[in-house]
């Protein structure tokens, strides 16, 4: 029953978003039912649909977890975008600079670089908040732009191939490549880019769950999020928890680089992130800031991205931007769940005030 209650609002939000999205589709002159059939059908086909859905879900699991850890500490990390940009650049740097190392050393080194650089970028707004009280939302927004600028400048100055028109680094060493799941799962073709990073993402969900609910630090982070005053009174160093939560959040966002740089494009590529950081907010909200929910929500959004590409090609007027609209609507409906609370209470679904 408790689980059902957790699922009610996210499900209503998704349905409401699809209804409004359907009206938009109808207004611009396509058949909503047919569009949604394409969207969902192409995302669930085996092996391409599911393979790509999981591939697109991977970065969203990381950013969704990043936002979740922040939320649980009462912080809104909208800087995942910047954290993953810096991490992707740093990871490419490690992959290029230490290309002569064997895979056994280079892959862990590159993964560690991804996590630590993201964590460092995330810890800065955490420190600023803890030490000087400046708001993390503004600082993380600013640091998103700074990250994009710095990564772009460093790429152009030091890591760009001569005459390459695209803003990207040189390729990383071959020993830094992580295997695609197709090499391990028998009936999954190797051309589908879902890779080991997806396994890491699922493990990260388990880790975040254990960390938040089974460790002292996790408890203290949640206590800080629930009530900073009470936590401080109870002997928790709120400042330390803020920095810790932001660093952990940044580290999780940084792990997107493992999927992107080590598992897919094998280089840093300016603008690779299709709003992963911001979609992470939607993922965390829809997943009700719980690692299991994040996993489900990320796979759902991954399916939308995959399906959106097909909608783009096979419908008359609708482009893949329908997915952005659906994402935004889901966030709006989850955020303003009070919108549904009234009608539901009237129908007797909400006996207790807390859901």
């Amino acid at each position: 029953m408790k689980l059902l209650r957790q699922l009610v609002f996210p499900l209503i939000a998704v349905v409401a978003a699809f209804v409004v999205g359907g009206i938009v589709v109808a207004l611009i002159g396509d058949d909503p039912i047919e569009t949604y059939r394409l969207l969902i059908g192409s995302a669930l086909s085996w092996p391409d649909g599911i393979g790509y859905t999981l591939f697109y879900a991977t970065p969203l699991i990381f950013t969704g977890l990043a936002v979740t850890v922040g939320f649980r500490c009462g912080l809104l990390n909208i800087g995942a975008e910047g954290q993953l940009t810096i991490a992707a650049f740093a990871t490419a740097w490690a992959g290029i600079t230490f290309a002569s190392l064997s895979a056994w050393f280079l892959i862990p080194l590159a993964c560690l670089t991804a996590i630590l650089s993201g964590a460092a970028w995330g810890a800065i707004p955490g420190l600023l908040k803890a030490r000087l009280g400046s708001h993390e939302v503004i600082n993380t927004i600013m640091m998103n732009f700074i990250a994009a600028g710095v990564a772009s400048a460093l790429t152009q100055s030091y890591f760009k191939a001569q005459g390459d028109a695209i803003l990207e680094t040189l390729p990383i060493g071959v020993t830094a490549h992580i295997p695609r799941l197709g090499t391990m799962i028998p009936r999954l073709p190797e051309r589908i880019p879902v890779n080991l990073a997806f396994v890491f993402a699922v493990l990260a969900c388990a880790f975040v769950h254990l960390f938040l609910w089974r460790t002292t630090w996790g408890y203290e982070i949640r206590a800080t999020g629930a009530s900073p005053q009470a936590a401080e009174y109870g002997g928790v160093s709120v400042k330390k928890q803020i920095v810790l939560a932001m660093a952990l959040s940044g580290g999780l966002a940084g792990m997107v680089a493992i999927n992107e740089v080590l598992g897919y494009r094998y280089r840093y590529y300016q603008g690779f992130s299709a709003q992963y950081g911001f979609t992470g907010i939607a993922v965390a909200l829809l997943g009700r800031n719980h690692p299991a929910g994040v996993l489900l929500a990320a796979i759902f959004f991954g399916a939308l991205i995959r399906g959106g590409l097909f909608v783009d090609i096979f419908t008359q007027n609708v482009s893949k931007d329908l997915v952005l609209v659906l994402q935004a609507l889901v966030i709006l409906f989850v955020a303003a769940e009070g919108f549904f609370r009234g009608p539901l209470r009237k129908l007797g679904f909400l006996k207790r005030s807390q859901v």
Binding site: V24, I28, G29, L76, I78, L128, L132, G133, S134, H135, V137, I138, N139, I141, M142, M143, F145, I146, G149, V150, S152, A153, Q156, S157, Q275, F278, T279, I281, A282, L285, N317, V318, S319, D321, L322, V323, L324, V325, Q327, A328, L329, I331, L332, A335, A336, E337, G338, F339
Partner: protein, 290 residues
């Protein structure tokens, strides 16, 4: 260095500061009433796309501008209803609107013009390259007067600082906040419209390119005050103008480092190193009437 301080760069500073100023003043009203508005970016996009599309069909930039204002108010009303009526998290709602406005113009331009997010070119005679500049800078004293010399301004500031007290004094917190957010949508939309039918002659995908966030930075740098916000916008406009001008002039400094200056300055200001910048006290807190 001489070409950096030429008349041309002064004009381009003012031109580049204009959209920031319009959105910044809009954001200022909303934030002064206690509603965080990180949706400025999306509101500007709504204005830019509507202005270009309507001007294309109607053939008059003034009708386009008017439509942009209407679109800005409409999109802002989503933010307002979610935040004021349903106590949604204001940052989250703002983010949703930014994502929404990344998608909607592209979706519509695909349906209307069969393009990947851009509108057709608008002929030169149908552009308004100067009027929004005048509007923006005239609005600064108007805004100052509105905030500090009118009953509405007093109520707006009261609602942003201490909604309980304002409520006790018989002021409708919700009504003031609604009007502030609507106005912020209108102003940000004019700023966006200036980009599409003033500076250039068409709408392109994501053409604001973060200007809504710079406007937000400017209003924080300006300590939530109209005149200071104007100076912040001019400074950020100058940083952009200089970075365009200096492209390739100094080979060892990449333009990106100049472009990130506004963001770094904002963080420094926010950290309290250049005077204290205090946000309205009730900023971000939904108000529930007892």
């Amino acid at each position: 260095m001489r070409n950096i301080f030429s008349l041309a760069i002064l004009y381009s500073t003012i031109r580049l500061a204009t959209p920031l100023l319009l959105a910044g003043l809009g954001g200022l009203l909303s934030e002064r009433s206690g509603v965080i508005n990180i949706a400025l970016e999306g509101l500007m996009l709504a204005g830019a796309f509507t202005a270009a599309t309507v001007t294309h069909y109607a053939g008059s930039p003034w009708i386009g501008l008017f439509a942009a204002v209407a679109a800005g108010v409409f999109i802002a009303s989503i933010h307002a209803v979610a935040c004021i009526q349903f106590d949604a998290n204001q940052v989250v709602t703002g983010t949703a609107i930014n994502i929404l406005m990344l998608g909607v113009p592209t979706l519509l331009s695909g349906a209307l013009f069969d393009t990947m997010g851009s509108t057709p070119q608008i002929p030169r005679r149908n552009l308004i390259p100067n009027a929004p500049i005048v509007i923006a800078f005239v609005l600064v004293p108007v805004m100052w007067y509105l905030l500090y010399r009118t009953p509405f301004g007093l109520r707006l500031r009261a609602v942003g600082e201490n909604p309980e007290a304002a409520d006790t004094a018989g002021i409708s917190v919700a009504r003031i906040r609604y009007s502030a957010v609507f106005l912020s949508g209108a102003l940000a939309a004019i700023g966006g419209a200036y980009l599409s039918i003033g500076q250039s002659s068409l709408f392109t995908r994501n053409m604001t390119a973060g200007r809504g966030f710079i406007a937000l930075a400017a209003l924080i740098f300006g300590k939530w005050r109209p005149v200071q916000t104007m100076f912040a916008c001019l400074l950020f406009g100058f940083a952009e103008a200089a970075s365009i001008q200096m492209q390739g002039v100094i080979p060892y400094i990449r333009v990106e480092y100049i472009q990130i200056i506004p963001y770094v300055i904002t963080m420094i200001v926010l950290a309290g190193f250049i005077g204290h910048s205090h946000a309205p006290r009730a900023l971000g807190q939904p108000y529930e009437k007892e």
